[in-house]
């Protein structure tokens, strides 16, 4: 079983739902983002999903797009620095885990094999690349298998049933269950729910070979409660960033505590 999946199932013995908080590396500066990650880890976040910024983040909504562009404005964050920085955090907070999220291009440019090797060295056990579908990820899967890293696949409410079953079976580490159509965060591009979240999660659960994380649209305690018992990890991205943008770490922490206390 994967290290990430083991970690989740062990921790789930003590907690009904785990937290995955999202931070854009380099936003508003590299130092600030690392500081914010450390704050969240001190507050007991089980996971940090670190997004390495890309100029064209097509699966993200306005909050995260603005943060990515902010992170790329007047500074040039590099993948190597990011891995070194978050690897240090991973060592400082051994009770938590850090996963890396980005888009394919900066990772491809860095070199996928090198990326996976470096992730393994820094104990970054999961990789989320929303624009790399399973079918196109043959090379990445080979590298990940060799280094014990988990590529995290996404499923959505519109994923055809046979494909959903396939991806759920192929899941390593955890399966990222997108809760609704659209992009991350509040935007004009939010789709309607296709079916009840309960039915959707139950359907995934019947096939899943790994723990389940749920993201997209988790903004308040009621949303976390709604998936508790039906999934393993609640993923909070844009809402946390909105709070951070509004009142810095203090406001962000307030939201985190209200969601996961």
């Amino acid at each position: 079983m994967s290290q990430l999946a083991n970690y989740i199932s062990d921790k789930r013995q003590q907690k009904p739902i785990l937290s995955m908080t999202h931070v854009v590396y380099g936003y508003p500066t590299v130092k600030d983002s690392l500081d914010w990650m450390a704050t969240l880890l001190e507050a007991g976040a089980d996971f940090i999903e670190v997004q390495f910024p890309f100029s064209d983040p097509v699966a993200d909504g306005p909050t995260i797009v603005a943060a990515c562009h902010g992170a790329l404005h007047n500074q040039k964050p590099s993948v190597e620095e990011c891995l070194t920085d978050i690897g240090k955090l991973a060592r400082d907070f051994p009770e938590s885990r850090i996963v890396l999220m980005s888009y394919l291009n900066p990772m491809y440019h860095f070199g996928l094999e090198k990326l996976v090797k470096r992730c393994a060295e820094e104990n970054i056990l999961g990789l989320i690349l929303p624009d790399l579908p399973y079918e196109q990820a043959g090379d990445l899967r080979t590298y990940c298998d060799a280094h014990g890293i988990d590529p995290v696949w996404l499923v959505t409410p519109v994923t055809p049933k046979d494909r959903l079953a396939f991806l759920a079976k192929e899941a390593r580490g955890f399966l990222y269950c997108v809760a609704r159509s659209g992009v991350t965060g509040n935007s004009n591009h939010n789709g309607e729910k296709q079916q009840s979240l309960d039915e959707y999660l139950a359907e995934i659960n019947s096939h899943a070979n790994a723990p389940m994380g749920v993201g997209f649209g988790i903004r308040e305690k009621a949303h976390v409660d709604a998936i508790t018992g039906k999934a393993d990890v609640a993923i909070v991205g844009s809402a946390l960033l909105d709070a951070y943008n509004k009142g810095g770490k203090e406001e962000g922490l307030k939201l985190f505590n209200s969601l996961f206390d």
């Binding site: 890309f54 100029s55 064209d56 983040p57 097509v58 699966a59 993200d60 909504g61 797009v65 603005a66 562009h69 790329l72 040039k76 964050p77 590099s78 993948v79 888009y103 394919l104 291009n105 900066p106 990772m107 491809y108 440019h109 860095f110 929303p130 624009d131 790399l132 579908p133 079918e135 196109q136 696949w153 996404l154 499923v155 959505t156 519109v158 994923t159 055809p160 494909r163 997108v178 159509s181 659209g182 992009v183 935007s187 004009n188 591009h189 939010n190 789709g191």
Partner: protein, 420 residues
């Protein structure tokens, strides 16, 4: 050109968020069925002919030919399409496909606004709801097109993110599609994006080259020796080149935007001179202008339709194979070429198409007198009136604009009073 499971050599493919998988599969299936359905093809041809004015002429340019004293110069007149550019060929095809799929709404990205206008036109005609994404900078540069899109009933969304040009518009259109895929079709304007878009757009644009084949046979009894096309996203180039791929004696020259210089940010040269590097973004693999960290970079061209950061995977592949030669033309050469065509032939070319002219004009004097070249005049230049006037340093234009503005404001003031 048939792809290998969505790939052209090492380029192309399908790199899209999982949420778009079912919609993409639906398009793949619908396109496969439609292109083999004689009824669909008949409707396509009928609409091309009776709505857009196809076939467009192949025009011999005697004055230009005499001027350069080399190759005989012909223009493929895509500027004479309804909407004033080759963009119409593709939007007609895709919009008919939208009807076939039973969708009610189209989303499109636009750079210069030509694709946006073309989409808004066909949407109005076929009764489709229409949303156009356009970079905020392009909205400013090409406001007349924005005006017409709105008049045609389209919603125009100005994209203020990132570089505020075509690639940001494309990102935003993809985001819209991620939430609206069930009732909306992403009507992409060029031979880019995830499979099957490059293949599908190239299929609809290939009517250009197919007509050139017939017309060149009819007019001079053989195929042209050389074809020229400007390359932004690559759709007009794919359209004129692809039908000639197997004709080994036909040389193909693509002309990119050299802009103001070869420094990153000053041009849109992705294929010639090793300035672009392979990347995977916006749904597909191709040559992009990017920095050492894989961040896509800003581009420049005097022609808003050419400043795309990536390029068609089909063109990237054919350039890599050496089947297409890639060149570039600088902003000032482009304005000169535009000016020369105006004076010699009485044709107003788009600044995009003027890149193809500039590339061909450089070669023409050195080519044999009995050789024949066809330049794809992909669009007409009326839309560029403000930018061309500025580039030509015309001193009378600001005066006109000031007078016009004063009169316009008076008119609006009087209208206000009238209502009160």
């Amino acid at each position: 050109m048939q792809s290998n499971n969505g790939y052209y050599g090492e380029f192309g493919g399908s790199y899209i968020p999982e949420i778009l998988y079912p919609s993409q599969q639906q398009i793949l299936k619908a396109f496969e069925e439609a292109k083999n359905d004689p009824e669909f093809i008949a409707e396509l041809k009928d609409t091309w002919q009776n709505y857009s004015g196809r076939p467009t002429p192949l025009t011999f340019c005697k004055n230009l030919t005499d001027h350069f004293g080399g190759a005989q110069i012909y223009l493929k007149r895509e500027d004479l399409n309804q909407s004033g550019a080759h963009k119409m060929n593709n939007v007609i095809g895709q919009a008919l496909l939208v009807k076939r799929m039973g969708k009610k709404r189209v989303i499109a990205e636009t750079g210069a606004g030509q694709h946006g206008v073309a989409t808004a036109l066909i949407a109005a005609r076929l009764g489709l709801e229409c949303t156009i994404y356009m970079g905020a900078k392009d909205v400013k540069r090409q406001y007349p097109n924005v005006f017409w899109m709105k008049q045609l009933g389209a919603t125009v969304v100005s994209v203020a993110e990132g570089s505020q040009t075509l690639r940001d518009a494309l990102d935003e259109a993809l985001r819209d599609w991620s939430s609206s895929h069930e009732e909306s079709h992403y009507l992409i304007g060029t031979t880019c994006g995830c499979a099957p878009f490059p293949e599908m757009v190239a299929f609809f644009q290939s009517v250009i080259g197919e007509e050139v084949k017939e017309q060149s046979q009819a007019q001079f009894g053989q195929y042209p020796d050389r074809l020229y096309a400007c390359v932004g996203g690559g759709s007009n180039a794919a359209g004129i080149f692809l039908p000639f791929l197997d004709e080994k004696n036909v040389e193909m020259i693509g002309v990119e935007a050299g802009g103001k210089g070869l420094e990153l940010g000053q041009h849109s040269i992705r294929l010639s001179h090793g300035l672009g590097t392979k990347g995977i973004a916006q749904g597909f693999a191709t040559m992009f202008l990017q920095d050492e960290n894989g961040q896509l970079q800003e581009t420049h061209s005097i022609a808003a339709g050419l400043d795309y950061v990536g390029v068609s995977p089909i063109i990237a592949h054919l350039a890599q194979e050496g089947r297409i030669q890639m060149k570039y033309a600088m902003d000032d050469e482009v304005v000169d070429a535009c000016s020369l065509l105006l004076r010699k032939e009485g044709i107003i070319p788009a600044l995009e198409s003027s890149h193809a002219l500039a590339g061909a004009f450089k070669d023409a004097p050195n080519l044999p007198k009995d050789s024949r070249i066809v330049i794809n005049l992909s669009g007409r230049g009326d839309k560029d009136i403000f930018n061309v006037a500025k580039a030509m340093n015309d001193e009378t234009f600001p005066e006109f604009l000031e007078d016009y503005l004063a009169d316009y404001k008076d008119h609006l003031n009087n209208a206000d009073k009238g209502e009160a």
